[in-house]
């Protein structure tokens, strides 16, 4: 887990690098990482799996204590990186 940083003006408490991981691992690991955070804290998940975009949306709708704050796409050396900002709810 990395130090505090800011994305789109949102304070990120922790970054999960799930790049290169296939479904279902990005969400499996995001759940585990979120469990270690306090309510109100934000986790940033980096994934190279395009399917993760819709899956994080669906997961946030389903899960009781997860809010999806933002999703961004960045290109890094020709590879698309999908970032998901999720906040642990009380």
């Amino acid at each position: 887990m990395s130090e505090m940083n800011t994305t789109d003006g949102i304070s990120v408490a922790s970054v999960l690098d799930a790049r290169g991981l296939a479904c279902p691992l990005p969400i499996v690991k995001a759940r585990q990482a979120l469990a270690a955070l306090a309510p109100g804290q934000v986790l940033k998940v980096l994934s190279t799996d395009r399917g993760s975009v819709k899956d994080f949306q669906g997961w946030a709708q389903t899960a009781k204590n997860v809010a999806l704050l933002a999703q961004t796409t960045e290109s890094e050396n020709g590879t698309q990186i999908y970032a998901h900002l999720v906040r642990k709810q009380a």
């Binding site: 479904c23 279902p24 499996v28 819709k54 899956d55 389903t62």
Partner: protein, 404 residues
Amino acid sequence: MSARNVVTKTEWSPADLYRRLELGEQPFVLDVRNRDEFANWKIEGRRELPTVNLPYFEILEESDGQDLSPEAWGRLVRQRLDGQLPADQPVLVVCAKGGTSALVAEGLRTQGFDAVNLEGGTKAWGDHYEIRPVLESPQLTIHQVSRPARGCLSYVVASDGQAVVIDALRHVERYEEFARARGLRITLVLDTHAHADHISGGRALADRVGAPYYLHPYDAIHPIDVLPATLSYRFLGDGQEFTIGSSRLQALHIPGHTLGNVAYLLDGRFLFSGDSIFVESIARPDLGGRADTWAPLHHRSLGRLLGLPDSTRVLPGHFSRLSEAGADGLFAATLGDLRRRNEGLRVAAGSETEFVRYILASLPVFPPQYVDIKRVNVGLTVPDEERSSELELGKNVCALAQAH
């Protein structure tokens, strides 16, 4: 459970699944993709398959997050779908790429279910090809090359070692492999029109085999953008003839589905109807955004095709349902047969007014990605593999909606 002597398969390839669906098997489908993807497109059989959609992240929400062994997945799914999963028939587990579904299938097997994974997921299912002979005579062969999950049909016609490919689909290596295995040289690549529902392989195949690629020039202008094609093609005109070995192929300009829509008549006996006449329906005329002005053209064009003899074998560009296939696995019918049982064609045989009213009342949704796909097919945009695959997700909707 009793011991089995045979090793039970734990994965079905798309080809395995297609064979089973053709035989009329009805596996129970557990689809663990998210709800949007499921709503857009699911596995369909000759009849409706018993299907449950349970996104994998909803299964995960039931877990403590620690024990993620296959047994734990299996237990969670069994508890969540208590009583819904059949104990006496296969459960086909499906996801987007085949990874998560493999885990769920393995888990369900630990719970005593006969669960199998769809290898490669819906991605591989959508990219699966079938090749079936329509005619195999010493002078002439015709093969129907399909992507059954998408309802897309294309054709390879060969005579004296020369082959023409009509409406080549995106994975052009399939045609090259087929030609190589049969000692054929692809000398001509034709599209019936600029497709909106799938990415054409026409230009790419023509480049790879060094053959000319033909398209009607009216379809080389994007109908929504009103921009000209940036890929190269040769002009196709009404009545133009091509020679393939000892056979002759004639282009018939039949505007309606598109302005440059063409059908090809082979030796006066086989009609490659593209998107005009399908087995159970007819093509929609609204994908250029002008159903009101294109429907009358469509009526005249269908009238022209209806003038062909009853014995003409119609080989269409699409199907909507697997049940449209005959016992030989082909999506084809004689024109005489279609005159009787194809509702849209019966209406087309009547007045223009009645036809236009029928058409305007039967238009299905206009998938927004169809505008983008057509841009790709005239060279205005060049997508990468992932984007291509995403654009093509789902089954084609090039036919009018059917009441039944």
